[in-house]
């Protein structure tokens, strides 16, 4: 029997979810003047989250706790966060094990490789930070950096390194209203468009309702998640011109349909968006 996924479709998921950033795009805005200090973190690791026993990290993107299949979530049930928070929307965490069962778990390695060799350098640039314990009204920009980062003997980007911002590397308008509460920073939802490229494919992935949450430890290192919903149709459109991708497009769209839980079209009764969450680690850095 033919496998429902091919390696190329794995690649397509990797595209969607790993945000391998090589191309540049977007607009440029001057950072707002702020009385606090600027603090920047560079993402040193990004990983897929995996569901286990209905538990997975993520956000409650639709602000609904779906315990029984319903039309609004196209029959998909919500998950529970490791800390017990209900209503977690993270269909990607269910999809990933399926993909890995078929193809092995190479994707995390691909992402780490892209970070460590400088192809996927995403910075969270916070302005107006007075305290990383408790604070509010913090603005955040997501930026793309470039260059060869320095890597420590632990295989992780060295903290406090200075990276060059990519030209036009500011990829969202400043998101506002971020807060620190007991050392945990939360911001969103905000629209996040990330221009990505893998192999010969370049397109922009659009996370409509991105949320970011991370906790800063005493060394300044951050750990948390990035969530939001993505359209598998858009992904399919974005990658359609890639070599060898065309035959896989139906599978990509099909999987999207199978797992989608958001973006209900009242006319068709179908969902077009896949809720997602990625785990992330970040270290303090400087942008030039």
């Amino acid at each position: 029997m033919r496998s429902p996924f091919s390696f190329a479709s794995l690649g397509a998921f990797a595209i969607v979810t790993s945000l391998l950033v090589v191309s540049a795009n977007g607009c440029s805005h001057a950072a707002p003047q702020a009385p606090g200090v600027r603090k920047t973190w560079i993402l040193t690791a990004m990983g897929f989250t995996r569901e286990h026993d209905h538990v997975a990290p993520g956000f409650d993107l639709d602000r609904q706790v779906t315990r029984m299949p319903d039309a609004a979530s196209c029959g998909q049930l919500d998950l529970t966060a490791p800390d017990g928070t209900p209503g977690i929307d993270n269909q990607l965490s269910l999809l990933i094990p399926v993909v890995e069962k078929q193809f092995g778990n190479a994707i995390d390695g691909i992402i780490q490789g892209a970070i460590n060799d400088g192809r996927l350098l995403i910075a969270f640039d916070l302005a107006n930070v007075r305290s990383t314990a408790n604070d509010r009204d913090i603005t955040m920009e997501v930026k793309l950096a470039q260059g060869k980062p320095t890597i420590g003997t632990d295989g992780v980007l060295d903290a406090y390194q200075t990276l060059d911002m990519r030209e036009n590397g500011q990829i969202i308008s400043p998101a506002e209203g971020g807060t620190f509460a007991n050392g945990t920073f939360t911001i969103g939802p905000f629209p996040l468009r990330i221009p990505i490229a893998i192999f010969d494919v370049a397109f922009t992935i659009f996370i409509r309702d991105a949320l970011v949450r991370f906790t800063v430890d005493e060394d300044g290192n951050a750990e948390g998640i990035l969530g939001g919903s993505i359209s598998m149709d858009e992904v399919a459109d974005g990658v359609k011109d890639g070599a060898g991708v065309a035959p896989l497009l139906p599978q990509i769209r099909g999987v999207g349909l199978l797992f989608a839980d958001m973006g209900l079209d009242p006319d068709t009764g179908k969902c077009s968006l896949l809720s997602s969450a990625l785990s992330l680690k970040a270290r303090p850095a400087f942008l030039r």
Binding site: T153, D154, A159, Y160, Q161, D164, D219, F286, R288
Partner: protein, 545 residues
Amino acid sequence: MVPYRHSLRVALIVGATACYSGGPLDPPAPPVTTGPVGAAIASPSAAQRLTRVQYANAIRDLFGAEVVVPTALEPDIAGNGFEAVGAKSSTISARGVEQYETAGYSIGKQVAANPTLLARILTCTPTAPDDAACARIFVSALGPVVYRRPLADAEIASLSAIVTTAGTAFASFEKGVSYGIARMLQSPHFLYRPAAGEPDSDNPGKKRYTSYEIAARLSFFLWNSVPDAELLAAAKSNALDTYEHVSAQVERMLASPKARDGLRNFVKEWLRLGELDDLTKDSKLFTTFTSDLGPMAREETLRVFDSLVFEKDADIRDVMTTNQTFVTAKLASMYEIPAPSKTDFAPVDLPADGLRRGLLGHISILALYAHPTTSSATLRGKFVREKLLCTPIPLPPVNLSTGLPEATPDAPTLRARSLVHMGDPTCASCHRMMDPIGFGLEQFDGIGRLRSKENGTVIDPTGELDGAKFGGAASLGHAIHDDPRFAGCFARKLYQYATASEISDDEEATVSALAQRFALTGYKLKTLIAAVATSPAFRAYGDPK
């Protein structure tokens, strides 16, 4: 034995020139800020052998920077904490003789094969591979520069013979030149700085340095290299015989870029920064440790000294408190500051409110004076005592368990463990002198990165310097800056380095006088260097042992 026959007058200034007969506690006479410092009482003279750096600098200055100098040379041996002092007593081993031979031929070959380099030292055009006249011209020109003195006729004949013999053997005059160079570079006249002296006509029965020996003393102290043509000319014309004459040369020499080599070498030897080449750190624990970190950190420290002395002519004590330093991108990340340059060292101001200040914030010092896996309040405190304050620590007792207790919940930090350790009176007598200083640097880990906690406990960075409490690394730097022993230690270390001596009781007055002059002239290191170089003691011949 002709080499030292030339009778050049070196009228040494003998006797005290100012009023510094006592120690620093004696009330000084009206401040004197010019003129020679101290008395003409010197330690025994001896033939210092060229250190590895001096050998390399000499080759650069004799033949050109293009020459690749072999690095496998007799290792330097430190004496009293200085390679310069060790060079006065250590010998050259059989392997060293072999290495100097290899190096000599390598350099000779490079020079002879390079027309540009050859043209600098060969002024005649040979008419045959064994052109004796040209060989003589070559040897007569190069010999005095390599041996730093005029050559005797017999020496010229002997060296010329090697040139023509080798030239004949290989049917190439240039080959002969390469053997001539190799011959001179293996000679003890080059490898050592012999100080035979000459009778001092002003002090019958006593000796003084020849003017050529004075020239070499000046150039190796100020430049860490051989005298240049002008200095040799001054020696030849007997223009190094008075304080004024020497002062003029010292002023000229300190204005030369080569003076920076001299300063760097002093700092490197004094602070033992050479050891950074073999820095061992557990790179699993210290994830930013790489083998280039030690040399890089040394360069930072040397640049800070260089800048304070030659760019700013600042009060050198500021080295303990300045927030200005020089960093690469790597050092910047370890200091948690934006990198000012992608590719090279660049000047940077450390954050005004940061803990890192001055020399004691340098990774060079913090990493060198620590263990491979941990910091060490003892090693850092000992460094401050011995290198910065010149207060020696007694040797640790033998036959005694000197270990620190393990970290426990009750004593999770190095500080707490050390305090347990110091509960033992035998240990406490010495560790009291070191550990409370090092506690102030405990917020820097074994590789010099900032940390706030150790084993989950917030680090207490307060400490004590001889009873005066301080609040942390920055205030420790200020305390040392203001400590008169620090400035005095500069004078002592520089004098010791310059004279390559174990300072005798008779020389203590000179050291005190130098410290006093240093204070009176605003703690300018250049001024102190000049004061040492022109001091009667530096220029006085001490009877050899």
